[in-house]
Symmetry: C2
């Protein structure tokens, strides 16, 4: 039996010819593109060294991940986190070193104690020198495991509404922490359900009956000796979630828990022994911490998963053959169908676009950080609002994109073994955590409206929004479909739409208020359009940044050409799928929209030729993809079959047979 022989002598490792041929015709050097994406060949080398070191260590294996229960995933995540400490010492890697981001990539985020890092970062930023000196060494050496307890059952993004209380007891010089009602229970904090010994708890500070707002307090929640819950603490795991099985997201109730006065982080606000409340310095820096986290998740939790999903779906789409494109020929690779190209290639272009906009954000952020260190807070609003809007736009787009990749793989995409279900269910969370997307978009919109008003009044605005003042033509000058391959043409179209949506919403707001509607009602009645305007702004900046990135590439001609195609595709796909915004005031006419469509569809077969090299350049190892469909060798059917056999559902005959099936079948037999 040919089949059985196949089983004995696995074909895994020898590249499927349908995939191999795709790699022979690349229009550019994959290795050069990889190095450019990494920011230089030396970074590629470091990344590969780190990934190798992690992947050759069996403790970090993700081989059986799709078969594991929530308890098993948690245990594995803790095992990996503890082992990683040792490994980092052995390898000479440090948490602040250049290797860290590669470590995170290598373990695919599937590790415990990530909130311990946020706990430490928060103390570093919000704690006094004395507090930093006390807690950071303890945390660094794992004499405690920290968590970060902000979100409550009843409150997420709206921090002012938190209900946990911290009352200052002047007689004992302690804070008394309480969870006054069920909605005040801390809920969701990672590392808290089962691991943490300490938590940074956010609660409303009361002194002499007066509320001073939300402050952070260090609270011990479990014994350092036996891990039992401390007196007054009720804590546990919040149970199953759509993903993040490896994380012990927890709940926490506090009942008259007393902590010393020194446990309130007091770099910016202090309660003195006599109960005097002193605020010092600027609290704006707090927002900067949230900005840091938002920017970092864009790369680690959003763009990398999209790149993985594209790699899996595109490799599979040149191995999978289905139906005939031409009568009499063999079945066609599904990537040769226009509809499949139209599903996947815009997502591939988006992965590149978002990688570049992440670089832009990181630069904006670094610049802002340098200025803040010199006590210059002027760039904070721009940095903070950019991070909000882009976080919302990118997480939303990448989530949809991963879903498209999953569905484009048909039934096999729906199997956990494809890797796509877990990528999807995890990336979906990014739309919700670290700020719910709608709220973030409205923050950005508020900033944009303010800037629009300022610029209308002739006042200066931050560089990224000066375009709001520019007067541009009211008609797109494109004459034929090739004109739409000009970055100037499409970038200006995006700019026009952003300006139109921001200005028309500003006008609607003013009209409403002038007609007597109160400010907050008027705002609420414009929020659907404000969110659209914020998205249009982010989309415009992303297109502009992509075009500029391509332009700067002029010395790397082979890469530049394909990047230009991807940039065009990203831009035209946006116009094609958002046509109403461009047609609305006639900036683009119906006839021009037909040109956009034609140019857009023409690009698909062009980019399709390089599709596999373009995902190969992301340089994911098979272990990191952990996908039966996406491996480098393209042996999808053999791998699905071999992996399925390892499933616990095949380990033994189900008790269901003895209990239910046998009596059913035999009962019926005996009746005959």
């Amino acid at each position: 039996m040919a089949l059985l022989e196949t089983g004995k002598h696995s074909v895994l490792g020898s590249v499927n010819p349908d995939l191999a041929i795709e790699r022979q015709t690349a229009s550019f050097s994959v290795e050069k593109l990889t190095a450019w994406l990494d920011g230089g060949a030396e970074h590629t080398r470091m990344r590969r060294a780190v990934v190798d070191a992690i992947e050759c260590d069996p403790v970090f294996s993700r081989e059986n991940q799709y078969f594991e229960s929530q308890n098993e995933r948690y245990e594995a995540a803790v095992r990996k986190a503890v082992h990683l400490q040792k490994k980092m010492q052995d390898m000479g890697w440090t948490v602040n070193g250049p290797e860290y981001k590669y470590i995170y990539r290598a373990v695919s985020g599937d590790i415990a104690f990530l909130l311990h890092r946020i706990f430490m970062r928060s103390i570093s930023v919000l704690g006094s020198d004395k507090q930093v000196a006390k807690w950071i060494p303890l945390a660094t050496q794992y004499q405690l495991i920290g968590s970060y307890a902000q979100t409550e059952l009843g409150h997420g993004t709206y921090l002012q509404g938190l209900e946990t209380t911290a009352v200052f007891d002047i007689t004992t010089q302690e804070f008394i922490l309480n969870t006054p009602k069920i909605s005040a229970m801390k809920w969701w904090p990672g590392d808290m359900g089962r691991s943490a010994t300490h938590s940074l708890v956010f609660g409303q500070l009361y002194i002499h009956g007066k509320c001073y707002g939300v402050h952070p307090f260090i609270v011990q929640i479990r014994s350092l000796q036996d891990h039992s819950l401390c007196p007054g603490i009720i804590a546990g795991d919040i149970g199953p979630k759509m993903n993040f099985e490896h994380t012990d997201n927890g709940y926490l109730m506090l009942q008259n828990v007393r902590i010393p006065r020194e446990n309130m982080l007091n770099k910016f606000c202090e309660v003195q022994p006599d109960g005097t409340y002193v605020r010092q310095g600027s609290q704006q820096i707090n927002y900067f911490t949230m900005t840091t986290v938002r920017v970092s998740i864009i790369a680690d939790e959003v763009i990398i998963p999209l790149m993985k999903a594209c790699t899996i779906a595109i490799r599979y789409s040149v191995v999978r053959r289905q139906s005939k494109l031409k009568p009499g020929e063999q079945e066609a690779k599904i990537l040769d169908y226009q509809t499949q190209q139209e599903k996947l290639l815009p997502q591939l272009a988006a992965a590149y676009a978002f990688h570049f906009i992440y670089n832009y954000l990181q630069e904006l952020f670094d610049k802002g950080y340098r200025e803040i260190q010199t006590k210059n807070f002027s760039t904070l609003p721009e940095v903070s609002c950019s991070s909000s809007g882009f976080k919302a736009m990118i997480t939303q787009n990448c989530t949809s994109a991963v879903e498209i990749c999953l569905r484009a793989c048909g039934g096999h995409g729906y199997s956990s073994l494809s890797g796509l279900p877990s990528l999807y269910t995890k990336i979906l969370g990014s739309c919700i955590y670290e700020g719910e997307n709608t709220i973030l978009l409205l923050q950005t919109a508020r900033f944009l409206i303010k800037c629009f008003m300022a610029t209308s009044a002739g006042q200066p605005v931050p560089p990224s929004v000066t375009y709001l003042a520019a007067v541009k033509s009211r008609k797109c000058p494109a004459k034929n479909k090739l004109d739409f391959l000009s970055p100037d043409i499409y970038t200006e179209a995006y700019q026009h739409v952003a300006v139109r949506l921001i200005s028309s919403t500003a006008a609607k707001l003013q009209d409403l208020m002038q007609s007597g509607v109160k400010k907050h009602d008027a705002w609420n009645q414009c929020t659907v359009q404000l969110a659209q305007a914020a998205k249009a702004h982010c989309h415009y900046i992303t297109v502009k940044n992509f075009a500029e990135t391509v332009e700067k590439l002029e010395t790397k001609a082979g890469i530049q050409k394909i990047m230009k195609h991807l940039c065009d595709l990203f831009a035209l796909h946006g116009i094609f799928s958002n046509a109403g915004a461009f047609l609305h005031d006639g900036y683009i006419s119906g006839a021009q929209m037909d040109m956009v469509t034609a140019s857009y569809l023409d690009l698909l077969p062009v980019i399709r030729k390089d599709a596999v090299p373009l995902v190969d350049a992301f340089d994911f190892t098979d272990k990191s993809l952990n996908s039966a469909l996406g491996s480098y060798d393209g042996q999808v059917y053999q791998r699905l079959y071999e992996w399925a056999q390892k499933s616990p559902t095949n380990k033994q005959m189900s008790p269901a047979y003895e209990k239910y099936l046998k009596p059913l079948l035999h009962n019926m037999l005996s009746k005959l």
Copy 2:
């Protein structure tokens, strides 16, 4: 402690006041709406009786479902299926009786042996009278458990490509079945991985070396005595999937498996003892079986889950309060924010729209079925293409809608305990199984193009597409935003867009072919636009059908008014979010689009007032919703807390503590 008291005296069951108040102001009778949706109060009574009988039986409990492993889910599904047989006998329910659809609703599809039913249905349709007489009683009495093995690792929707072989051996009067290569392995069939004793296997029939195409064969795969695999059979479970943990989707390899000649289903095609192949009757009926399944899943697997998701998200959105809408007031219910209304209310309107279009399809289908029984196959193309297109449109829209509901519940929506993750991961499958959506849309498009050509040539076409011939005005006549609340205005706009997309794509096809592009290439180059055209057709019919349904309601005034609002919302949301299609040729102008937007946004607060009664009318029990967020009493926080405590992650201290955390913490302590 108020909190502890809350824990002791659970508030579950007493309705949250924020939810209670929503029910006091309904503009219509919820009970009357429910009865109307059910098709009469007598149906409502029957449904409730069935649901009660199932839910009061502990065997059918879904209480711990979110904590169960794939093995446990499978075992529970078998337990329920076996118990259901008994229950049905006890209750006097039959598989073809009116109760069956309510049973399915009551168990939420979470039951084994669904493919056993498809096995039986296929034999009934494709088997000779003799075969029906032999196999159906055996299957009905569970002397065997059947499965339906069509899909292979390498082939899904393209049936002609199946690679399993069935060679007729004239000497023994047997068929010899084989899986000649790995991609030919049967993969995905439900009930096959661990339960089935028999399977209906589809393979290429060979007689004297000649291939006669795909035919169905009854093959025994497991022993009736001890359930061991039969000789030549390799079978097992395909492992974890995004959902359907309760189903043992399986794989099957056949190695020289011999079955008697009589085991090929031969109502339409027969192999005679001498090897003569005889085709008799029409095979078109085969497509009708697929149509049956497609129509039935629209209700059971797609619309009901969307109704559940709306119920959960809308109830939660009036209990959840977050941030302030007006300064100085208490925090607002999140459903009072325009953005939240704009997320959820269009999904609610869609649930109603799709419920009505399902009734329309069911009627079309029943009519077609009656005609087929009189050997009149003329309506088959219309019925078959409608079921394809609507299956694709409805599954796609409902999947997006459930995702929107999930995300609209923020972090708590992401918890499995909300019920939303499992609704989402399950409904997503409906876009893939029973025909991949893109392929289905292109089937519909092919039908539409054909009809368009026919009507252009003055030939008759089926009733649902006669509109393709109608000449209508080229400009929307609306003068102000209220005009857009006229069903004539918006239905005509949808019709205009459908005609434009179908005719322009037909023209593009012809242009390409006239310029020398071959037919199949031209078709492939138009598929993105063809799929759009098919969607536009289905969207138009859905809007038209909704408007007609509302119109027919004239005697039930209270209900008609709110249904009219929902119909308007459904139609205007479609124009708002698809603006480009309506603006493209100027049928709707930019100024008119602003009117659409205004009317659309104006409708949101109107429908919001009745949002809770509108989901209450779907009449789901708490057990059926199985959601901590969506229960009738709205005690979301208490329920989340109580349910989380039942999670296996809280049952014991994780081994991770002893193995990894304790050594880590103590090692560090000892170093001090």
